[in-house]
Every structure is written in structure tokens, then in C-alpha cells.
């Protein structure tokens, strides 16, 4: 720890005031964690509110800023959404935490800002144009012969896009240090290597490149490690279980075993369902493990089931209470269906919700969330007997909006931008990205450097070269964003096209190659205003049940969750290809053998995540054949209410 800092009761109360409903306070388990500034891992059960506890700690720490030695606080989470949530929740309370010398961001953001970009600019004497996978892919320009060759191969795309320029100057598959499929002397190897080198030179980096550069930095100039340790006296990693091996290793090199750094990794390795290649369970070497066992989401009847599914054993205490303080008393349901009733499972679950509402065990409220989830969704080529999400809900579609930097047409840039509570900054950024896209399509580069423009270099260039236009440029940029906020999309688009055209003409060109891109109309995915019509949503008796994959609901809290078994992988050890059969032993109280197959472990984690979402009702859908074989007459069945799904 960099200095003697002690978090006081007053500071904890300040955090309570901002983070908890009025009159609520943190319990002892959480206060202990909030006040604990030593290096440790926090193993937290689902619904324990670990992120809230971390935020409380950050609010308390911020009261001590700036530290005497001017070091900073580093907070790393996994996704942009998680980082935005932190900003949204405490940004207004502790603005200092979000500015130099502190850093709050994703692991990618941290690596970019503190390792990849500084190292890149030190070597190439300029900044990367973009660190983004899609723009990286977009800038691969194989010659005719190579593209013809690659088009003829089933793995042609992989060969072109998935290989990286490793730190030894050779091609490696992603970050796996696997050599290219052909020898280095082959012309395919040489051509692809040349493309990758060109991309590196011109500043188009993919996300993997950032880690490759970071690794190179640490090897060449290990002095940076100690500097970063001095810079960040407190390092907090949220959702540690979601880190990939290379991210885990990098963090370990930087902050593991650094006496001067308070390094806290917070997570739940039982919920590590994202990193498929490497298992955090195996790579995460824990130190000074502390636990948060109390869950404010689970109640005793669900907590004991979730606990039995924990790969890494942990006590789960269900603390969920009704508003009057009484314990939530709802028995989980096991829905037993047959081939012809799979499509009735969700309806049956909704009937059970309706029943609980009617008896007053679930209060009808606008913020009720009901979800029906499964691990896998149908893929082309599936056999009819592989039960997946689409058997339960035939119209399920995976399409969902993902924030991308590249969109199919200019207009799309007015629609997809980060939702920043009406802030103009993110729209402005999106508009600038749109203009850059036009410049790239027109193959216009910065005349000063001969390289593609970045947002910053474009603005600088206009400022320096066209002082007179600069003001107007800023004004137009503002007007476009303002019009967009006012939902005057048409006017915004007209102004947008005008500005892009003007920028192109300032660069001595006219719109040619980007004509189609500019002209194309953006067709928003039809989101009807009426939620009844919403995709992937089952509605009955006024109860809305959204259908999703387990991955999609990770981290969420539901009123009720229906977990529907689904077909995945191959049959190992006679335990079948469905979660119901694979985790039956654990649900029945048999602890997992250490040697158990990987697939069994994955199924356990999946059900652990899926089962631990609901505050009230948990449902588990099992086919009758597996119910009969794995559950009928076995222990712990009394934990469930068994319902046979009937045809409607």
C-alpha cells in the first residue's frame, strides 16, 4: 500500500448515502471489505453486490485524493458497459477519480493507454490510427492472386484475418503463439506477413496487437513495471473471472506480488463462462482469499441449489427478503416436458408466475424482469432431436445491436453511438468517425504525414491549415449533434453529408468512391414501440418473459428465471449432452471429482450462472427421459416443485 490510508465510518456512511436506498446500510461483511485496503482476492457469490461494495470503497478512497505521493487509483473492469455503469453511478460523486492520475476503464483501454500506445509511439514516432478489430480487418488488401487463392480455401478468411504480427516478426495465430499453417518461405506466408507489417506501420492495430505490443514493451523496457506500480497504489479488478489468460498474465506481471501496490481482484470464478479457450478456474491463482457469502438476490431455497453447483466450493447464504423483512419463500420449479410439449415450457412457467402473483408471493411491479434462458440456440445443420433454445421458443433470433465503429452507411453513424444520457460528446465522436470513414473510402490521407487521419489529427489539420474553416467546422459539428439530439435526423443527415463533402473538398478531392456509402439509407431494425411486439419476448397474462442465452443474462438480476436445458457437445462419462444430466450428481449433493471432464465443469458453471439470477422464482426445464433417468427418486428432489408440462 502506498500510504497509510484508513477508511473511516463516516466515509462508509457517505457511500451508503449515495449507493443504497435511503435508510439502508452495509452489513458487516461488506463494511469489512470496504475498509480492507490490503492485497487480496475477493470471491463473491452471485447477488452479493460486490460491485456496489467496490464502488463504496472507491467513494471512500476518493475522499483521500490527491494522495501525498500523487499516485493514482486504477480500476479495471471487463466490458465498456461495466465501466459506463461505474461512471454513471459514482462519476458525479467523485469526479476526481475519473481524471489523471487515476484510470478507470476496461482492460483493453488500460493496455492501450498505458502500454500499447506509448510503446507504439516510442517505436514508430506517431500514434496508432485506430485500435479496433473491424477497422483492422477492413484494411487488409490482398492482391488478386492471394484473394483468389484464399477464396478457394475454407479457412481462407482465418488465414487472412486471424493471424497477427508476433513480437518476433513472425505470423502467429491470435495470441496463441501458434505458427502459420504454411512454412515461412511460402509465398502465402510472405504476402500475409507483408500485409500485417503494412498494417502495423500505418497504425491500424487490432485488439490482440495491443497485447503483443504491451508484451514487447515489458520485455524491452521492464522499467515500466516499477513505474506503473508507483503510479497506481491501488488496483482493483472487477469481474476478474472474465479475464482471458493473456490479460490475467499481464495484470499479474504488473501488479502481482508488488509490495507497494494494494492489488484486489474481485470476482466469482464459478461464473467464468466467457473465456472458452482458457479456464480462469485453472489459471487464477488466488492469494489471501476473502469471501462475500451473503447474497441479496438469492433466498434460502435457491441459495442451496446454487451452492451445490459451485465448481469452486463456496458457502452461499440467501438473504433476500420481502419488503416487510420476511424471508422470500418460493419453491423452485422443475418443469418436466416431453418432445411434443417443449414449446409449452415457457407458457407453463408463466402460469406458475401468475399463480405466485395471485397468492401475493410475487408483487406485480413495473421493474419485474422475467427471463427464459438456454445455453445454446439452433444452428443450421442441427438434428431435430437436439433440443435447443429454438425448441422452446421457435422465433428466437440472436440479432442484437452491437456498438460498432464501422457501419454500413453514413446515416447509421447518427443512430449508433454510445448512450451517454444525452451528452453530445459521443454523438460528436460518432460523426467524426463517419467523416473518417468517408476519407478512408476516398483513400484520402493526411498530406502532412501520408497516413490515415485520426479524429485528433483531422481536427488539428483543419485548425492548422484552414483556420477560417475551423470555426465553421466546429459549428457544423455542433449543429449536427444538436439536431440529432433533437431527433431531427433528416436535417442532421443533410448537415452531416454537407460537412463530410466540405472536409473532402478542403483536402482537394471530391466525393467519388464513398458516394454509395453516403447515399445509402439506414434501415433501423424494426423495434416496435409496443413491447408486446418485441422480438424474443413471450407474453401471456400480461407477464413478459424475455428469451435469451445464458451468456446474455450474465450479471443480470431477474424476478424469475427459467433455465431450459439444451444440447451441447458430446457425451462424456455417460453423463449425456444436456445440463440436466451433467449436473444431476451435484444437485443431489455429490461433490465434484477433481478429475471430472471439462464439459461437466462447463455445464456446472453455466447452470451456476443461470440459476443465480432470480430473486424469486427459479425454474429448470428437463426432458422427461432425463428426469426419469437422473432425478426420479434421487436425493434433494424435495427442493423442487415438480410440474409436468401439458399440451395447451
Amino acid at each position: 500500500m502506498p500510504q497509510e490510508i484508513e477508511i473511516t465510518d463516516n466515509q462508509v456512511r457517505l457511500a451508503e448515502k449515495h449507493l443504497l436506498p435511503q435508510g439502508k446500510s452495509f452489513d458487516e461483511e461488506r463494511i469489512n471489505f470496504i475498509k480492507d485496503l490490503s492485497t487480496h482476492d475477493l470471491h463473491a457469490v452471485p447477488g452479493s453486490g460486490k460491485t456496489t461494495a467496490l464502488l463504496a470503497k472507491l467513494i471512500a478512497l476518493e475522499q483521500h485524493l490527491p494522495f501525498a505521493d500523487r499516485s493514482g487509483v486504477l480500476v479495471i473492469s471487463h466490458t465498456n458497459a461495466a465501466v459506463d455503469e461505474i461512471k454513471q453511478k459514482i462519476g458525479h460523486i467523485c469526479p476526481r477519480l475519473f481524471a489523471y492520475p487515476n484510470f478507470i476503464g476496461t482492460i483493453q483501454g488500460f493496455v492501450d493507454a498505458f502500454l500499447a500506445v506509448p510503446y507504439y509511439k516510442s517505436v514508430y514516432r506517431r500514434r496508432p490510427v485506430r485500435i479496433d478489430d473491424e477497422i483492422y480487418d477492413e484494411n487488409h488488401f490482398p492482391d488478386y492472386k492471394l484473394s483468389a487463392y484464399l477464396n478457394n480455401r475454407s479457412d481462407g478468411k482465418k488465414l487472412l484475418y486471424k493471424y497477427r504480427l508476433g513480437k518476433d516478426g513472425k505470423l502467429t495465430l491470435a495470441l496463441e503463439n501458434k505458427p502459420f499453417v504454411f512454412p515461412e518461405t511460402s509465398s502465402t506466408y510472405q504476402k500475409i506477413l507483408a500485409i500485417k507489417k503494412g498494417l502495423r506501420e500505418s497504425g491500424f492495430l487490432c485488439f490482440d496487437d495491443a497485447y503483443i505490443l504491451a508484451q514487447e514493451y515489458l520485455e524491452k523496457f521492464p522499467g515500466i513495471i516499477n513505474i506503473l506500480r508507483k503510479r497506481f497504489g491501488f488496483v482493483f479488478i472487477d469481474e476478474m473471472q472474465d479475464m482471458d489468460k493473456h490479460q490475467y498474465d499481464l495484470l499479474e506481471t504488473l501488479f502481482g506480488n508488488a509490495a507497494e501496490v494494494a492489488y484486489q481482484r474481485i470476482g466469482d470464478k464459478n461464473q467464468a463462462i466467457f473465456n472458452s479457450e482458457s479456464e480462469m478456474l485453472d489459471i487464477w491463482e488466488e492469494r489471501n482469499v476473502k469471501e462475500l457469502n451473503g447474497s441479496h438476490r438469492l433466498h434460502p431455497a435457491t441459495a442451496c441449489i446454487v451452492e451445490s453447483l459451485a465448481l469452486s466450493p463456496i458457502t452461499v447464504v440467501g438473504n433476500k427478503t420481502n419488503p416487510d423483512g420476511s424471508v422470500v419463500d418460493i419453491k423452485p420449479v422443475m418443469l418436466v416436458y416431453e418432445n411434443n410439449t417443449a414449446s409449452e415450457v415457457i407458457s407453463c412457467f408463466s402460469d406458475e408466475i401468475k399463480r405466485l402473483v395471485d397468492v401475493g408471493k410475487i408483487k406485480l411491479a413495473s421493474d419485474n424482469v422475467h427471463r427464459a434462458v438456454a445455453w445454446t440456440a439452433a444452428k443450421p445443420g442441427d438434428k431435430a432431436n437436439m433440443i435447443k433454445l429454438n425448441h422452446y421458443y421457435s422465433s428466437f433470433s440472436r440479432d442484437h445491436i452491437k456498438l460498432k465503429i464501422n457501419y454500413p452507411c453514413l446515416e447509421a453513424y447518427l443512430y449508433f453511438h454510445q448512450e451517454d444520457a444525452g451528452k453530445l460528446a459521443s454523438i460528436r465522436k460518432s460523426v467524426l468517425n463517419g467523416i473518417l470513414r468517408v476519407l478512408r473510402l476516398e483513400e484520402i490521407v493526411n498530406p502532412e504525414t501520408g497516413r490515415s487521419f485520426t479524429k485528433r489529427s483531422l481536427v488539428d489539420w483543419i485548425k492548422e491549415q484552414h483556420d477560417d474553416f475551423y470555426r465553421d467546422f466546429k459549428l457544423q459539428l455542433y449543429q449536427i449533434t444538436a439536431l440529432n439530439v433533437e431527433q431531427k435526423k433528416k436535417e442532421a443527415l443533410n448537415a452531416f453529408v454537407k460537412l463530410a463533402t466540405e472536409v473532402v473538398s478542403k483536402l482537394g478531392k471530391t466525393i467519388k468512391k464513398s458516394k454509395a456509402f453516403i447515399a445509402e439509407k439506414y434501415l433501423p431494425v424494426a423495434f416496435a414501440a409496443d413491447p408486446e411486439q418485441k422480438n424474443n419476448c413471450f407474453v401471456k397474462n400480461g407477464i413478459h418473459i424475455e428469451v435469451a442465452t445464458v451468456h446474455a443474462v450474465k450479471g443480470q438480476t431477474h424476478t424469475s428465471t427459467l433455465y431450459m436445458e439444451s444440447f451441447y457437445q458430446i457425451n462424456v462419462g455417460g453423463k449425456g449432452q444436456y445440463e440436466s444430466s451433467r449436473v444431476a450428481d451435484q444437485l443431489q449433493g455429490i461433490s465434484l471429482a477433481a478429475t471430472e471432464h471439462e464439459y461437466i465443469k462447463q455445464s456446472l458453471k453455466m447452470t451456476y450462472v443461470g440459476f443465480s439470477r432470480a430473486t424469486h422464482l427459479l425454474g429448470f426445464a428437463i426432458h422427461k427421459s432425463r428426469y426419469d433417468k437422473f432425478y426420479a427418486g434421487k436425493p434433494n428432489l424435495d427442493r423442487w416443485k415438480i410440474i409436468k408440462v401439458n399440451q395447451s
Partner: protein
């Protein structure tokens, strides 16, 4: 960490043609960790260097410094100030992680930091810009807090030290103290308690009580009377009463009410105030809980200080320069002579030349020698626009007069004549010779004798081949002219051996034996010289063979060179007074001597080189 390099493009005097080329700064100046002294004539760029650093890094005293039109070199449109720092500890480097670059050194690497201020103007309007860091083309804006860690401590010249040290709002003294660790406790500092006690006493005094509430003795009740009278009036005006107290008792106000004095001092002069000022700023550079930059900029350190005190201040700064970096400017040869060459930076015509090992052709031995022999007089060479190095008194006396005789006023031209004695001119000249570009522009002329004897001393031998003895029984000698061809060959060889002319440093070697021999040989000077020599050595029988006698005296070292030079100079000066147009003999001939292979041609050429004519 310390400032290792400053680069300037088109900043004030530092520019060439107004164009801008990132790869060709108009100044690239290296600094040492520890002490650096910028020394040079007026308008040589010393202040511009200090100001550039200040504009980029800002100062702790938070004065308002911004780029003005006048800061641009001539009509240039873009100026740039760039500072590079190295020698960072991890603790220091941590403030600049995002901006650091690395240089490979040994097995690993060392971080360094580059920050810059790149400003353009268009149509006379200066376009605002940010201070950025990093060596890449676009840079990365330095955050306010990171900039804070790079602030310098600045002592301006001719400061109003008295006012800076006297109690007032935001006094410099209060700023320095307030930021010091000794005053980090802003709430319960001992001084606050003391001030509160005093406040109570003051308030109570005007009520006729002491702090405990007891009545004061009759003699101390006048304060109470004062308050009573005022209260009476105030009551009639507005039904209010007065209360007396000192300024508010928060730490800042208390510090603002402090002034700094010598322990036993009254009526301090400006010099003493200056010393106090320097001492208080040093406190700032020494503060403990600081891992930012410790760089002190001191302009004209000698301002208002007695030469003796100047030296003491410099010595003190030298002894403290281990844990801080100091850059100061000076006009004082006194200080110039006391600072080791390696810490000196000569400024001349918009160029700056550090005199450290890495830059000059001086070797280790030369540094030791010059350290000892560089006195205040010789230190003058740091301020001159041209230098003539001579090896004896005769030259020192005669050269300026000969210059006057050809219409060149060396003083006016800023040319210093440095009498180095013997052949040490080699070492002095090397100060002006650079290992690396830029080369120095200061012309240096070295005047030296070729020292090839035209005559030789021969033992007089009788017919028997035995030495011919005089009446006292001693050997006798005769002085004979040597073979002209041999002498001339030896002269050419010796000249080539001596001549190390290079760029600005040029050797001017007499074509004949010595200065005096040259004067004798000189068509324009010979008459005057003969006349003077005969006057000085009146008992010598010059008449038979003047040349032979002169040679004899030169060989026997019995010629009174200084006296001859003095009288010769005196005569020439008198002639100049009567003949200011230099139209008559011998001034006319001296003026026309150049290029006519006159024997004193080399002196005239030296003068012209050094004075830039």
C-alpha cells in the same frame, strides 16, 4: 529527474530564415544535472532560453506568462519549445507514464520525457495550443496535474526583493511556506493556536482585561478608553459596538502576515534582501514531499550582490546542486571564473555552447589547467564578440594600438585580448573549438612567434681551433646570420607544425623570429622601432649593425620587450592624435601594409579576423 535538453524553433533570437523544420531546431542545448550557467554578452539569448523554459514549464509562483507576437522569430509563423527530461526515478516517472518514451541503455532501457509547446500564428493572431508530451507526431496533451509536477522555481533579475518578503496577501514567502511540508497541517498547526491566543489578548486588551478576564493595571487601560470613545459614537450611529482583533487566524493569513529578516538586521539593503529571497526560494526547491521536477531558474544572479557575496552564493549553490538542477544567467566574469567550465554555457548571437567534455575539444588535462588559470580577467573571453590570444605583454600592449592605427577600435568591437603567457593559448583556443555542430561563431585569433632564429650564437675560435678567451678568461661569442634558405625552410616547417587553424580559430604566426624582429623587418614600422629600441637601450652600440645587435639581445633574452612596446604604443597614440586621418607617415604606411607582405602583416590579419573585418 532533470532537464537534459532544450530545443527551440523560431523563438525570439533563435531562428534562421523563419522556415520551420522539425528535424532542424534553431537551438538544441544540453544541460547538466546540477549547476548550469548561461554566460554571454547582452542580447546573446540568455534570457530567451530562460523564458522559453518558463513558458513551457511555468513557475511555482504562478506568474502569468504567455507567448506574444514578439516571441516569434522575425516573420515566422510557427514556433516550438521542446524540453526533454531524463534521469527519472520510478517515483518521478510515475507522473508521466502516458507520455514517457524509452531509450535503450545497456540491457534494458531508460525512460525519458519530452514535452513541447508548438504554436502557430496566422495574420498576426496567435492560435491557442496545448502543452503536449511524447515524441510522436501528434503528441498527447499533458494534464494539468502532470504539468504541475514540472513547474520551475524562478528568481527574476532586479527583483523587488523587499516587497516580496514583506507581509501582504499572497506574498511569495507565504506561498513558499504554505506549500512546504512543515505547514501541511492546515487545521491545528501550532501557529494557529498562537495566533488565537494573541487574538484573545488583543480583543481583551481593548476591554481593559487580560486573556483570563482579570482587570489590567491602571497603566494599560488606555486601549479600553479608545474603544469606549469609538463605541460611544458607533452606538449613536447604528447601535453597534467595536471589536479589535488581528487578521483571521487561518494558516494562510498567518503566513501572509510574516516577513523575513536577518536575525540581527535593520535597514537592510537590496543586496541583503536578495540573499533572503534566494534563501527562501531554495527552501522551495528543497521541500521534502516532492517528487516532481526540482529546477531553479535564476536570472542575473549577481544583481545587487557585492562581488564577494556573489562568490559565496555561487559556492553555496554549487554545494547544493546535487539534488536539484539550477540554470542561471550571469554577466559577471567573477562568477564565470568560479564555475567550472563544464557547467558553463556560452551564449553568442543566438547560439549556445555548453563547455562540457562532450562538446569542446578540451581534454581532461585542459579542464584542470583552465580551472586554475581562468581568472576574472581571462573570464572576459566569455563575453567577447572576438578574442585575440597573445603570449606576452608586448603583444598585449601593441595589438590594440596597431588596431587603432588601422582604424579598428577593439573595445568597440567587443574583442578581448587575452594574454595567456607562453603556449597555453592552445588550451584556451580549444574552449572555442567544438567536437560537434554547431561550431562557435566567435572569431579567435592566436598571435604567436615562429621562433626560428635568423642568427646563431657561435663560439669564437682561434686559428689553433681553441676558444678565443677575453681578458677575463671567458669564451667569447659571435652572432652570425644563418643561411637564408635554411631559415626559411625551418620557418615554413615550424609554421605548419604550430598552425592548428580551424574554422573560427585561426593562427597568425610571425613570418620572422619574434614580434620585435618582425617590427624591425616591417617596412612601415622599422624606423619607429629602431628609434624606440635605441631610446630604451641607449648604451648599446646599435650603429654598426642594428640587426646583429637585436639578434644578440633576443638570443641573450636581454631585450626589454615590454618597455619598447610601451614606448612604441605611446608614440603611435601620439601620432594618432596629431594625424587622426592617418594620412602621413608612418600611419599611412601601416594602414597600407596589409597584403603587401609586410613583416607585421600577421598582426593586422589577426586583428581583422578577431574583429570580423
Amino acid at each position: 529527474m532533470f532537464l537534459t535538453n532544450l530545443k527551440l524553433w523560431n523563438f525570439r533570437i533563435f531562428g534562421t530564415d523563419g522556415s520551420f523544420d522539425r528535424s532542424k531546431p534553431n537551438l538544441s542545448l544540453n544541460f547538466n544535472d546540477g549547476i548550469n550557467v548561461l554566460i554571454g554578452e547582452n542580447d546573446s539569448g540568455k534570457t530567451a532560453i530562460i523564458d522559453a523554459i518558463k513558458m513551457l514549464l511555468k513557475t511555482h509562483s504562478g506568474e502569468w506568462i504567455k507567448i506574444e507576437d514578439e516571441d516569434f522569430f522575425n516573420d515566422s509563423h510557427r514556433l516550438r519549445i521542446e524540453c526533454r527530461f531524463k534521469g527519472m526515478s520510478d517515483k518521478e516517472a510515475k507522473h508521466f507514464t502516458e507520455w514517457l518514451d524509452w531509450v535503450t541503455e545497456g540491457a534494458t532501457g531508460k525512460p525519458y520525457l519530452t514535452v513541447y509547446y508548438d504554436i502557430s500564428r496566422r495574420d498576426g493572431k496567435i492560435i491557442p495550443a496545448d502543452i503536449k508530451g511524447g515524441i510522436d507526431d501528434a503528441g498527447h496533451i499533458l494534464t494539468a496535474e502532470a504539468k504541475e509536477m514540472l513547474r520551475t522555481t524562478y528568481l527574476r533579475p532586479l527583483r523587488d526583493a523587499k516587497s516580496e518578503l514583506s507581509p501582504k496577501r499572497n506574498s511569495r514567502l507565504s506561498q513558499i511556506l504554505y506549500s512546504h511540508a512543515a505547514f501541511s497541517d492546515k487545521k491545528t498547526h501550532r501557529l494557529i493556536g498562537l495566533a488565537q491566543t494573541l487574538n484573545t489578548e488583543v480583543t481583551e486588551y481593548f476591554k481593559g482585561k487580560d486573556a483570563a478576564g482579570a482587570d489590567l493595571p491602571a497603566g494599560d487601560l488606555l486601549g479600553k478608553e479608545v474603544k469606549k470613545v469609538m463605541d460611544t459614537y458607533l452606538n449613536q450611529f447604528s447601535k453597534k459596538n467595536t471589536a479589535f482583533r488581528m487578521t483571521s487566524a487561518d494558516l494562510k493569513s498567518i503566513l501572509e502576515s510574516l516577513c523575513l529578516l536577518f536575525e540581527d538586521g535593520y535597514n537592510l539593503g537590496l543586496g541583503s534582501h536578495n540573499l533572503l529571497c534566494i534563501a527562501s526560494e531554495l527552501l522551495h526547491l528543497k521541500k521534502g514531499n516532492w517528487d516532481g521536477l526540482r529546477l531553479g531558474l535564476v536570472e542575473e544572479i549577481e544583481a545587487h550582490l557585492h562581488p564577494q557575496v556573489q562568490l559565496q552564493v555561487v559556492e553555496t549553490l554549487k554545494s547544493h546542486s546535487k539534488d536539484m538542477q539550477l540554470i542561471f544567467t550571469t554577466h559577471s566574469p567573477n562568477i564565470g571564473s568560479k564555475i567550472s567550465l563544464e557547467n558553463l554555457i556560452m551564449c553568442h548571437k543566438g547560439m549556445a555552447y555548453p563547455l562540457g567534455h562532450a562538446f569542446t575539444k578540451l581534454n581532461k588535462d585542459d579542464y584542470k589547467f583552465l580551472e586554475i588559470f581562468l581568472d576574472t580577467t581571462k573570464a572576459n573571453l566569455f563575453f567577447s564578440k572576438g578574442v585575440i590570444l597573445v603570449e606576452g605583454w608586448a603583444e598585449e600592449i601593441l595589438v590594440p594600438v596597431i588596431a587603432s592605427a588601422i582604424g579598428i577600435d577593439l573595445t568597440e568591437c567587443g574583442v578581448s585580448i587575452i594574454n595567456v603567457g607562453s603556449t597555453a593559448y592552445l588550451r584556451f583556443a580549444k574552449i572555442f573549438q567544438r567536437k560537434v555542430a554547431p561550431l562557435m561563431q566567435i572569431p579567435v585569433a592566436i598571435i604567436t612567434d615562429v621562433d626560428i632564429r635568423t642568427y646563431e650564437k657561435n663560439l669564437v675560435i682561434d686559428e689553433a681551433g681553441k676558444p678565443f678567451l677575453d681578458e677575463k678568461g671567458k669564451s667569447t661569442y659571435d652572432y652570425l646570420k644563418r643561411d637564408v634558405a635554411i631559415v626559411s625552410a625551418e620557418t615554413v616547417a615550424k609554421k605548419t607544425a604550430i598552425d592548428k587553424s580551424e574554422d573560427n580559430v585561426q593562427y597568425f604566426i610571425s613570418g620572422d623570429w619574434t614580434l620585435e624582429y618582425s617590427l624591425f623587418k616591417s617596412i612601415c614600422m622599422t624606423a619607429l622601432f629602431k628609434q624606440t629600441a635605441e631610446r630604451v637601450h641607449s648604451k648599446t652600440g646599435w650603429a654598426t649593425d642594428f640587426e646583429k645587435k637585436l639578434a644578440e639581445k633576443l638570443i641573450l633574452k636581454s631585450l626589454d620587450k615590454t618597455e619598447i612596446a610601451y614606448l612604441l604604443a605611446k608614440t603611435l597614440l601620439e601620432l594618432l592624435e596629431t594625424d587622426p586621418e592617418r594620412a602621413e607617415s608612418p600611419l599611412k604606411e601601416i594602414n597600407e601594409a596589409d597584403g603587401k607582405s609586410d613583416a607585421i602583416d600577421y598582426i593586422i590579419k589577426a586583428i581583422k579576423h578577431a574583429s570580423g573585418n
